[in-house]
């Protein structure tokens, strides 16, 4: 079966007055129908930028995008603006990190959902409101009929994110992009929202790309994961395999810095020494080498290309792949 999303050799560069930022560097992945991919990595590694490329949401005149982003066979990067706006919200839809900032503060939640539905389906305002009500019910917002006329600031954080999910799913998209949708929520609400997302994904049969820096969240929601560092995917594979036996030293370091069962409570978490590199040039060698304990002189020359079509791969040339 053809994948719903195919990203091939994606490069995203932001042109600024003080030079360029090479935010995403040669990223390739694909996504099958109904599958969930977690893009895992720390702040500034390019995971959100990669996600936004699927809808071409970057500021137009400052961004240079190369490569291919195929959604249902159509190249998003080559779409005319009319086709692009028809695809946005209909085929591919997005849940943002901070729903307070992603809702228009002066329109009611119900009207914003209805507006979106009316844009993509030829139905009346009344029917669109009815759909909005169904969606709010579906994401289990209590007394949904009353919440339809609420403004975003009149809702709690968890409720707002549910409403955001209702908005994103109102047109039954094929692909849902979730940009750290639980980061702004507190822990108990987080898990409820995650479970809700999984459940709705199953019901609607959609694919999902989930951006997160939280290893625990990735294990919870994803089938596969792609770990990103300094604008590149450095390791990719089934989520259980990657996170139980990581190949890349960065993934190993990331897991080492995460709370896990059976660890000593009084012990400080080991941190990876150093800081990620500035992306002011295109980095062709291993970007992690300066922080890596296993680095050798070979790591400082340009990395060989890897076959990204295999189910599991890593960019590290030292990784003991035979362990798998």
């Amino acid at each position: 079966m053809n994948p719903v999303v195919e990203v091939k050799n994606l490069n995203v560069t932001f042109k600024g007055e003080e030079g360029s930022i090479f935010a995403v560097n040669d990223v390739s992945f694909d996504l099958a129908a109904g599958e969930t991919l977690a893009l895992l990595g720390e702040s500034g590694c390019g995971k959100s930028v990669t996600l936004k490329s699927l809808m071409r949401l970057h500021p137009m005149h400052k961004t240079q995008i190369e490569g291919q982003v195929l959604v249902e066979g159509q190249d998003v990067l080559k779409m005319k603006s009319k086709a692009l706006s028809e695809m946005r919200g209909k085929t591919v839809s997005m849940v943002f990190q901070e729903p307070m900032l992603a809702f228009d503060p002066v329109f009611t939640v119900g009207d914003q959902i209805a507006e979106s539905v009316m844009r993509h389906e030829r139905i009346s305002y009344k029917d669109a409101r009815q759909r909005a009500l169904e969606m709010l019910d579906r994401v289990r917002i209590p007394s949904a009929a009353k919440r339809l006329d609420a403004y975003p600031h009149e809702m709690s954080g968890g409720m707002r994110q549910r409403a955001m999910i209702a908005l994103a799913l109102a047109c039954k998209p094929r692909v849902l992009l979730a940009d750290e949708p639980t980061t702004a929520l507190d822990a108990t609400v987080q898990i409820q929202v995650l479970l809700l997302l999984k459940e709705l994904q199953r019901e609607l049969g959609m694919s999902m790309i989930f951006v997160t820096h939280d290893v625990g969240v990735a294990i919870e929601v994803a089938d596969r994961t792609a770990v990103m560092y300094a604008g590149r995917i450095i390791e990719q594979g089934p989520v259980q395999a990657v996170l139980s036996k990581p190949w890349h030293p960065y993934t190993q370091g990331l897991l080492g810095a995460t709370v896990h069962p059976g660890m000593d409570r009084n012990q400080a978490l080991p941190a990876i020494p150093g800081a990620p590199p500035q992306l002011i040039r295109r980095i062709d060698e291993c970007a992690f080498a300066p922080r890596c304990a296993q680095a050798s002189s070979r790591c400082l020359s340009p990395l060989p290309s890897v076959n990204t079509l295999t189910p599991r791969w890593t960019r590290c040339i030292h990784a003991d792949v035979s362990q798998a």
Binding site: M55, L57, S85, E86, M87, R88, G89, K90, S93, M94, F96, E98, L101, A102, F103, D104, P105, V106, F107, T108, E115, S116, R119, H120, Y151, H153, L167
Partner: protein, 317 residues
């Protein structure tokens, strides 16, 4: 909502009273006796006292203020010292002329300012932005009486396209909506529109570019909404801020047109105020200031109410 309007209206009453008190006392704080202008310098002392009694000027200030307010509320602002006519009638006529001029200026200035400001924000950093910003800065920097004189020299004296004096043909002071009167309106209205246009441009530019940079605009794009629909969202978000600035500017147009009305001999409140000052016509002076100040208070009230209606984030409690 209705309760909010009522309450906001009640709040306006003490403000109006305070404004009236300032208007009243300003005249008495100024050097010189209000009656020096009408009494001949060599008048005998008994005559001076008699006149003072006739105008009620022998009573304590607070009592004078009380009776002035009492009559003002009933629409009686006294009798002009210079002409002997009731002040209210003259002010009413002048006010309608000033309002005509203010509406015309506001219409040109606000629509121009919104257009320029929105263009500048949408094309932030490009030459469109730079031109709009330059126009805005020039607009607020040029003294309007000087601009008025310049326009008169160009369009009345040299080109002879438009009249430069009065509100209508033959120095008529009764405004009518016909072509002959409209011609008289053009130059003063254009002269006055530049300051509000500049200020509205700057406000719209700042507000709209801030909104365009906020995440929800990206989120609206991510929903696939059409550009016209996104513009509507941006406009509704910008409206409360822009509206409050426009309200203030309209107030300034009403009160600040003294110089422009004088340059164009426009028979409005500014022109009348100028006359009243030179003739030391105290009742007329007080009346005009009071009426203009009340307009300002009413305008602020209106803007507040509109703002609350438009922005759900403002608590109505």
């Amino acid at each position: 909502m209705f309760a909010f309007i009522i309450r906001r209206f009640l709040f306006a009453i003490p403000i109006a009273l305070a404004v009236a008190a300032v208007c009243f006392s300003l005249v008495h704080l100024a050097p010189g006796d209000p009656l020096t202008a009408v009494i001949p310098a060599d008048a005998p002392a008994e005559v001076v006292i008699a006149i003072k009694e006739a105008y009620g000027m022998d009573r304590p200030l607070i009592v004078q203020f009380g009776s002035w307010i009492q009559r003002a509320v009933q629409g009686d602002l006294g009798v002009s010292v210079a002409t002997g006519r009731p002040v209210m009638g003259d002010i009413g006529l002048a006010l309608s002329n000033t309002l005509t001029l203010a509406f015309a200026s506001a219409f040109i200035g606000f629509s121009g300012g919104i257009l320029l400001g929105a263009l500048a924000a949408f094309y932030n950093g490009t030459w469109v932005d730079k031109v709009a910003t330059a126009v805005a800065i020039t607009g607020v920097s040029i003294p309007h009486y000087w601009l008025g004189l310049l326009l008169v020299i160009i369009f009345s004296v040299q080109l002879d396209w438009l009249p430069s004096m009065g509100a209508g043909p033959g120095g008529s002071s009764n405004w009518r909506w016909d072509w002959a009167h409209l011609q008289h309106l053009v130059l003063p209205a254009v002269t006055m529109c530049f300051i509000p246009m500049g200020i509205v441009t700057r406000t719209v530019r700042a507000t709209v570019s801030e909104i365009l940079n906020s995440e929800f605009v990206v989120a609206l794009q991510a929903r696939g909404l059409r550009a016209s629909r996104i513009t509507l969202h941006v406009a509704k978000n910008a409206a409360p801020t822009v509206l409050s600035v426009m309200g203030l500017q309209f107030g300034y147009l009403l009160g600040g047109s003294i110089l422009v009305e004088t340059v164009f001999s426009w028979p409005g409140t500014g022109y009348l105020l100028n006359t009243a000052i030179f003739q030391r016509d105290i009742p007329l002076l007080q009346g005009i200031i009071l009426v203009l100040a009340m307009f300002f208070v009413a305008l602020n009230l209106l803007v507040d109410v509109l703002q609350t209606l438009m922005d759900p984030r403002i608590k109505r409690g």
